[in-house]
């Protein structure tokens, strides 16, 4: 219990240093509408697929709990309602991003669409980040003309929570890979740290899907080329949540994770496009990233490797993250 209490105190102290409610609040307030603009844009794009969704029909449609009301309606009515409600509520929130009512309806609209995509057997996680971030943003405080410092700090805190949630999911993915790497290593199988891990993933995927990708053949023929990028990907994923507390790394991690999605698409055609826009809004444009920072500070604050770098170069200067 004491350990938990100490850990909580450390986390909240670290948060206080990041979430100040001054310049970060101003930037977060500017960025917020872009989330809803983007949500409307993608919801409108989904509307393009409405005809196809109706034509495909309701075979295999097993509604998740948010669509429990749908049992009384024909499939065409359900799909049309879900798609139009998602686009309409996203547009509403784009116009009134600072209204909690608008943000709640945008969340409900997205929940309906998300539940629809997950109602055909297996789960579909493309829009998970969007859904949960839309949920988190509901809790933004009401902003008046001259908000108090408490309100400004609370606003920044909710924005940071959305960032931290986004990063947390990558950490969970990284922990999963680390756990299974240990199991596979112990049983003598190729594992996530094996030099040919990236090539094996790519070849298996391309053989099964029977497709070619721009970079797939290259790394299948030269498996070692993918080793370092694969290890960097493990670092980016596993330690992502730590980066939430190191604002000087926000932009770099955002770029790294976008490159990871681009890389897996260009090699094994893993289509996971939806989170990249969020990585751009919440990390590439992070309101908590310092205006100016030295390359040395950035490099030394990288989890594990920064620490190793400091040890190797006998750096004695204390970085902000050593607190």
């Amino acid at each position: 219990m004491r350990y938990i209490s100490n850990a909580y105190a450390k986390l909240t102290t670290a948060l206080d240093a990041i979430v100040r409610g001054d310049g970060d609040y101003d930037k977060a307030k500017i960025l917020l509408p872009f989330f809803y603009y983007a949500l409307f844009f993608v919801s409108f794009m989904h509307l393009e697929g409405l005809d196809y969704a109706i034509e495909r029909g309701g075979a295999g449609f097993d509604p998740r709990w948010p669509l429990v009301w749908t049992s009384a309606f024909p499939f065409e009515t359900i799909v049309t309602t879900v798609f139009i409600f998602a686009a309409g509520t996203a547009l509403f929130a784009s116009f009134f991003p600072f209204s909690r009512l608008a943000r709640i309806t945008a969340f409900l609209g997205l929940l309906g669409y998300h539940a629809y995509t997950a109602s055909f057997g297996g789960p579909n996680h493309q829009w998970d980040h969007w859904l949960w971030i839309a949920f988190i943003l509901i809790f933004l405080p009401t902003v008046r003309t001259s908000p108090s410092s408490e309100t400004r700090q609370s606003f920044s805190l909710v924005f940071w929570t959305a960032q931290a949630y986004l990063l947390l999911t990558y950490t969970m993915a990284g922990i999963g890979k680390a756990i299974y790497a240990a199991i596979q290593f112990a049983t003598g199988q190729p594992h996530a740290f094996s030099p040919d891990a990236g090539a094996l993933f790519t070849a298996t995927q391309l053989n099964q899907m029977g497709i070619l990708t721009p970079l797939g053949p290259l790394i299948i023929e030269h498996p070692y080329l993918a080793w370092l990028p694969f290890l960097i990907m493990l670092e980016l994923q596993t330690f992502a949540i730590i980066v939430a507390f190191r604002p000087q790394l926000h932009r770099m991690w955002g770029l790294g994770l976008i490159l990871f999605h681009l890389g897996t698409f260009l090699t094994m055609r893993a289509v996971f496009v939806a989170p990249t826009l969020l990585l751009a809004i919440f990390l590439l444009s992070s309101p908590f990233a310092p205006e100016r920072t030295s390359a040395r500070d950035v490099l030394y604050s990288i989890p594990v490797f920064g620490w190793l770098g400091r040890k190797l170069t006998h750096a004695t200067r204390t970085t902000p993250d050593d607190r």
Partner: protein, 150 residues
């Protein structure tokens, strides 16, 4: 909600999300199912083995002339390669397990795309995925079944 309380809720939310996600994975026995809308994010966690097995369909004879064009006939019909792979695995698994109904259904799908009289072989293959991708070379092959398109 004031800032101090908000901090507590933020950390509680992140902890709960991760805990439920991991619990979901543990309880679902890595089946990919989830406690909607929570998820463990355990994606691509198992590195594929260096030796893999699967099935392919090999045309042996087309209109009495010997031909060994692997799956080429399907492609001529405009079928996507991924559909061919799925079809090959479907008939292979059905033939291996002796599932007569599934064999009939898979044969219909295959034979509707083949000229009448085409003889084709369903093979179980063992291969190195890297070498198989580059040259389609297999380590072990065995015929599971042979059919003739009506």
């Amino acid at each position: 909600m004031n800032y101090a309380t908000g901090k507590g809720y933020a950390i509680l939310f992140l902890t709960l999300y991760a805990s439920i996600g991991f619990a979901t994975h543990a309880l679902s026995n890595n089946s990919g199912e989830d406690a909607y809308p929570f998820f463990s994010w355990f994606l691509f966690v198992n590195v594929p083995p260096r030796i893999q097995t699967g099935f392919d369909v090999h045309t042996v004879e087309v209109n009495s002339s010997q031909s060994l064009r692997q799956s080429a006939l399907f492609r001529d019909e405009g079928l996507m390669r991924r559909d061919i792979v799925a079809l090959e695995n479907r008939i292979g698994q059905a033939a291996k397990s002796g599932n007569a109904e599934e064999i009939r259904s898979a044969r219909r799908s295959i034979e509707s795309r083949l000229p009448a009289g085409t003889v084709y072989r369903v093979r179980e293959i063992t291969y190195d995925p890297l070498k198989y991708f580059i040259s389609k070379s297999v380590l072990i092959e065995s015929t599971v079944s042979e059919f003739t398109a009506p």
